[in-house]
């Protein structure tokens, strides 16, 4: 039982890393327009598939966690989501004032901010429950 919980946790981390390993090269290839449009579309789909698998594994791992760890993950996602919603809202309102910096707040960076905010929430929640 404990072994399978560990395996599920490890699987979700492994698929998060696989997603990272497909996302970064895909972003680089698409940015530098190495291939034609049909191939580029296929390349763009690959990180989406790996992310879907990661989400599936994460949800499976979440349901196998004990209730304290579930609470930590839940709060991490809530804090992460709230912060990213706040950032998007601020960026939208600032863009209406003609203040925007796509160099720092483009779509690619927003993905990084999502992860960053999730980890901020995770650390806050871990400290709160002393896990």
């Amino acid at each position: 039982m404990e072994q399978s919980k560990t395996t599920l946790n490890q699987q979700s981390i492994i698929f998060a890393l696989i997603h990272g390993a497909t996302y970064l090269p895909a972003a680089w290839l698409l940015k530098h327009r190495v291939f034609g449009q049909p191939v580029s579309v296929i390349i763009a789909v690959v990180p989406i598939i790996t992310f879907s698998i990661f989400i599936f594994k994460y949800i499976k791992a979440f349901s196998a966690m004990d209730e304290v760890k579930q609470r930590v993950q839940f709060e991490a996602v809530v804090i992460g989501f709230s912060l990213i919603a706040m950032l998007l809202m601020s960026l939208f309102l600032l863009s209406l004032c003609d203040i925007s910096n796509p160099l720092w707040f483009g779509y690619a960076y927003l993905v990084c901010y999502c992860w960053l905010f999730y980890f901020v929430g995770w650390l806050i929640s871990k400290r709160k429950y002393g896990v």
Binding site: M1, E67, Y129, V131
Partner: protein
């Protein structure tokens, strides 16, 4: 909410890891419950009471302020 998990654990001479294994949670999770940082679900509280052969009311009590 206060609890007597530590006392009950000492009676059985169990470590946190032993109790955690008996009730099916992680040792860190149990530590969080024992120190009052996390309030367990009814199911977990009942499981804990069962392994200690006691009642949930003995294991968990409301603080004086909460009462």
């Amino acid at each position: 909410m206060k609890n007597t998990i530590k006392v009950e654990r000492a009676k059985k001479n169990w470590t946190q890891a032993d109790l955690a294994k008996h009730i099916g949670i992680s040792r860190q999770g149990l530590n969080s419950i024992e120190t009052g940082k996390f309030i367990p679900s009814t199911l977990l509280a009942l499981r804990m009471a069962k392994v200690f052969n006691t009642t949930v009311e003995i294991l968990f009590q409301l603080d004086d302020i909460e009462e």
